[in-house]
């Protein structure tokens, strides 16, 4: 038994426990708290023993003053007063006597043993039984801001796990020998490793474990599409919901930050080599951190007046607080990374000039050029690209206009075109500016929505309407050239296209008009031409992105590496980070060979 003050957790499922002799249940409800009540004899005195009724019975409470290693003399059923001590079975760990009870789990009755020695965790379950029982703890939800409240502010929506919830969720992990979740992660975070540390209550150690592979855990825990990466591979997911790896990652990263446990590593082997990183987005930051930790002198160039790339201008405050981005960047500053703001590489300094001063250059400029559909009326007033809308709101803090000088685009009825995370972000930002009606228009069906499920769920909760299988065909303007409606056509799904998704086909004569006074186009982005204008040698692929070897991130120019959206097209934060890591590895390999 582990003597631990486990508080009542409403998300925890408890097990029904029975006496093997009289079949009475030990479960008792006491002051909203479910408990297991036994009788026991300790130091020749009869006492009531209370244990927590959860599957991990060893996490139990008792009012006995018992030291670790001390033994109970007897253990009895309070109903029939029979001793529950097993005659045949002794504790598998310490050899002491054990009490036998019957638990019902996964519609089966299984014998369960409670070791009489305090501090012993043995319970006699086979691996298979343990697994079945573990499945019984449901995936823990994150407490979050109330939906009616949060649409009036820009603060972060989920509050994150409490340490109890995190411990409970960590307990669900099966600790597989060949963890599939690690394979699912683009930067191969040791998921089982950090969850193991969490189960040992070493949250700080868990954070350090993640940081071995991922320098921005607080960010990834919030914005990664875990359901298609690590959590998609979780074995638990086949029968139940997968372990909430992202939420756990977020919890330990926040724990480390809030408890001020972040340590600045001392970099021992300083190298006399210089690295230039173009773009301070997630990929650039990862590459910068990796190279700085290896001892290189790193300079990051950023075009805007604020660091973080898409983390700063794109992802809204309520999804990723900017103070967290700032904290992670400060960490990089403290390990010696230099940052140059307001540097549009290609214009103020060309790649060629960078190569004169630096030994290697990593280009992680992202795909920042907004795409428009090219339909009528797209240049009307109050038709925005999602980039413009979100840049105004996040980078320029227009939601605090007129305290900040950039005007806030506001509409009473807002239409957002697209079904990705950016579309969700735009729609949810709009509802926070006080818009009465926000509609998302997406041309495929619900299954194809590329946004994270959590974002779609949050958007729905906040009252955003979805017009699926609908495509805009033109914008209608007022006499003053302001948008007043979007004409749409209904679609149906046809045969699968190149991407494997079923191609949407317009239904004839199904046009209709959605009224709006603000429209946001969030249908993706393309490569920015600036860097190519000054570097014609840089080879581009057929979509106009930089052609790079995806195993090494090398480009057609020696010592120039590229990764992230500028190579693959719009993707995720963690994929950009993965590319930054690969590039850092190649750069390090190449540069150490030169010596």
């Amino acid at each position: 038994m582990i003597d631990q003050d486990v508080k009542y957790l409403k998300f925890k499922t408890y097990l029904n426990t029975y006496c093997p002799y009289c079949h009475q249940s030990f479960n008792v409800e006491k002051k909203h708290d479910k408990q297991l009540i036994f009788k026991a004899i300790f130091k020749e005195k009869e006492v009531d023993l209370t244990l927590s009724p959860y599957l991990d019975v060893f996490e139990s409470t008792t009012n006995l003053e018992m030291g670790v290693g001390e033994l109970l003399d007897d253990f009895m059923c309070p109903a029939c007063q029979k001793s529950l001590i097993s005659k045949d079975i002794k504790c598998g760990e310490c050899g002491s006597n054990v009490a036998e009870v019957i638990i019902s789990a996964a519609s089966k009755l299984i014998p369960f043993y409670i070791c009489l020695k305090k501090g012993c965790e043995w319970h006699g379950l086979t691996k298979g039984d343990e697994r079945k029982i573990k499945l019984k703890i449901p995936r823990q939800e994150m407490p979050e801001q109330d939906k009616t409240l949060r649409i009036h502010n820009h603060q972060e929506v989920p509050y994150g796990y409490t340490s109890e919830l995190a411990a409970l969720e960590a307990g669900r992990c099966l600790q597989c020998k060949n963890p599939k979740c690690v394979e699912g992660c683009p930067v191969n975070v040791d998921v089982t490793g950090f969850i193991k540390l969490m189960r040992e209550n070493d949250f700080d150690g868990a954070a350090k474990k993640i940081k071995e592979r991922n320098v921005l855990p607080a960010i990834c825990g919030r914005v990664c599409p875990q359901e298609s990466q690590c959590e998609a591979k979780c074995i638990l997911g086949y029968k139940d919901k997968p372990v909430a790896i992202g939420r756990l990652e977020r919890f330990v990263a926040d724990f480390e930050r809030k408890m001020e446990l972040v340590k600045i590593p001392i970099i021992k082997s300083k190298k006399n080599k210089r690295i230039a990183i173009v773009g301070s987005g997630p990929g650039g930051l990862t590459a910068a951190a990796d190279m700085a930790l290896l001892g290189y002198s790193v300079t990051v160039f950023e075009a805007l007046h604020e660091l973080g790339g898409v983390l700063t201008y794109g992802i809204p405050e309520f999804r990723l607080p900017k103070s967290i981005v700032q904290f992670e960047i400060n960490y990089l500053k403290e390990i010696g990374v230099r940052f140059e703001l307001n540097h549009v590489i290609g214009n103020i300094i060309t790649i060629e000039e960078l190569l004169e001063h630096f030994d290697a250059v990593y280009v992680g400029v992202g795909a920042g050029l907004p795409t428009f559909m090219g339909i009528d009326g797209e240049n009307l007033g109050n038709v925005f690209s999602s980039n413009e809308y979100l840049t105004r709101m996040n980078l320029m803090k227009a939601y605090r206009f007129p305290e900040y000088d950039t005007p806030m685009p506001r509409g009473n009825k807002v239409v957002v075109i697209g079904g990705g995370n950016v579309a969700m972000d735009s729609a949810r930002t709009a509802i926070r500016t006080g818009s009465a009606e926000v509609t998302i228009v997406y041309r495929r069906s619900r299954q194809e929505l590329p946004a994270r499920q959590e974002e779609v769920h949050h958007a729905e909760e906040e009252g955003i309407r979805f017009r699926l299988l609908t495509n805009p065909i033109r914008y209608i303007g007022t006499d003053y050239n302001m948008v007043k409606g979007v004409e749409c056509i209904k679609m149906e799904l046809g045969l699968p296209d190149d991407s494997g998704r079923r191609r949407p086909v317009p239904i004839k004569d199904s046009e209709f008009i959605i009224e709006c006074d603000l429209a946001v186009v969030a249908i993706g982005t393309g490569p920015n031409p600036i860097i190519f204008q000054s570097t014609p040698d840089l080879k581009r692929n057929k979509w106009g992105y930089i052609e790079a070897n995806l195993k090494t991130m090398e480009t057609s120019i020696p010592n120039v590496y590229a990764g992230g959206d500028i190579v693959t097209g719009s993707a995720t934060v963690i994929e950009a980070m993965g590319a930054g890591r690969i590039a850092a590895n190649t750069m390090h390999k190449k540069l150490s060979k030169e010596n």
């Binding site: 075009a303 805007l304 007046h305 201008y313 703001l341 307001n342 540097h343 549009v344 214009n347 103020i348 300094i349 920042g368 050029l369 907004p370 428009f372 090219g374 797209e378 240049n379 007033g381 109050n382 925005f384 690209s385 980039n387 413009e388 840049t391 105004r392 980078l395 320029m396 803090k397 206009f401 007129p402 305290e403 900040y404 000088d405 950039t406 005007p407 806030m408 003053y480 050239n481 302001m482 920015n528 031409p529 600036i530 204008q533």
Partner: protein
């Protein structure tokens, strides 16, 4: 951090000239390119075309008209004050070749941008004819500077208080009608002026370039706020421009897009006064 080295008020204090220390930008910037600046932490990003540069002492010159909150704030800055962010150079440089005779038409603050480009045309060996206009004598800027780099200079004012009375299009029409060696017209100024110049040069079939100034945020092609319709295709002014073939630009749309924020501008100003 960028320091203001010199400040000069022109045109009854409505047009301000700043010399800003920005050595890296001064080294690279070419005529026609612009910078984006943000005065302080809560400021907005505004695009300003660079009127001149001094590569040796690392100084760029911007000239702007006080029209809104940010420019009003900038007027209150003194020599030695700091501007938080200056990003540049941005946009494509003007294509300057030796073509023969060019007419440079400028109106209002547009003359500031025109000066940098006209200077480059002159240095490339062109015959430069300049026509600059203003509302009245006091509002006229850079007259002496334009005179120094032009072979011929014509000044017009709306009220006739200096030079010819009328609009820049009047002398331009005369030139186009009388001289056949004019290969190129560059027009920079208010949208309505550029539109009228283009309508005129269309009749004479003279190639015309204009420099556009739409609403912009980042200036690096990211936001798409500065989109203009050129030849019926949407172009981003910040990366595809700011100079475009004037005969293909949809000026009406540009004019409407540029007036979208007038109300917000007023609110912003009122807020800062309060």
């Amino acid at each position: 951090m960028f320091q203001i080295i010199r400040k000069q008020e022109m045109a009854r204090g409505t047009i301000i000239r700043f010399d800003i220390e920005a050595p890296k930008i001064a080294k690279k910037i070419k005529p026609g390119q612009f910078v984006i600046l943000r005065v302080n932490e809560t400021g907005e990003r505004i695009p300003l075309t660079v009127a001149d540069k001094d590569e040796f002492s690392g100084i760029i010159t911007v000239i702007f008209q006080v029209v809104g909150k940010t420019t009003a704030l900038m007027r209150s800055l003194k020599e030695g004050d700091i501007i938080k962010d200056v990003t540049g150079p941005l946009g494509k440089p003007a294509e300057v070749h030796n073509v023969g005779t060019v007419i440079m038409v400028g109106g209002g603050t547009g003359v500031a941008i025109l000066y940098h480009i006209a200077k480059a045309f002159k240095e490339a060996g062109n015959q430069v004819v300049s026509i600059i206009g203003a509302r009245d004598k006091d509002m006229l800027i850079l007259k002496n500077e334009m005179e120094n780099i032009s072979d011929e200079l014509v000044v017009t004012t709306d009220d006739g208080s200096y030079g010819y009375r009328g609009f820049v299009t009047d002398p331009l029409k005369k030139y186009l009608g009388e001289r056949y060696d004019i290969k190129l017209v560059y027009a920079i100024g208010p949208i309505i002026m550029m539109k009228n110049v283009c309508n005129l040069t269309k009749q004479f079939n003279t190639k015309t370039f204009v420099s556009l100034n739409p609403v912009m945020i980042d200036g690096t092609g990211m936001c798409g706020g500065c989109r203009v319709k050129v030849d019926n295709k949407t172009q981003f002014c910040c990366v595809d421009g700011p100079d475009f073939d004037g005969h293909l630009v949809d000026f009406d749309e540009l004019e409407k897009r540029n007036s979208l924020y007038l109300k917000d501008e007023k609110n912003s100003l009122l807020f800062s006064i309060r």
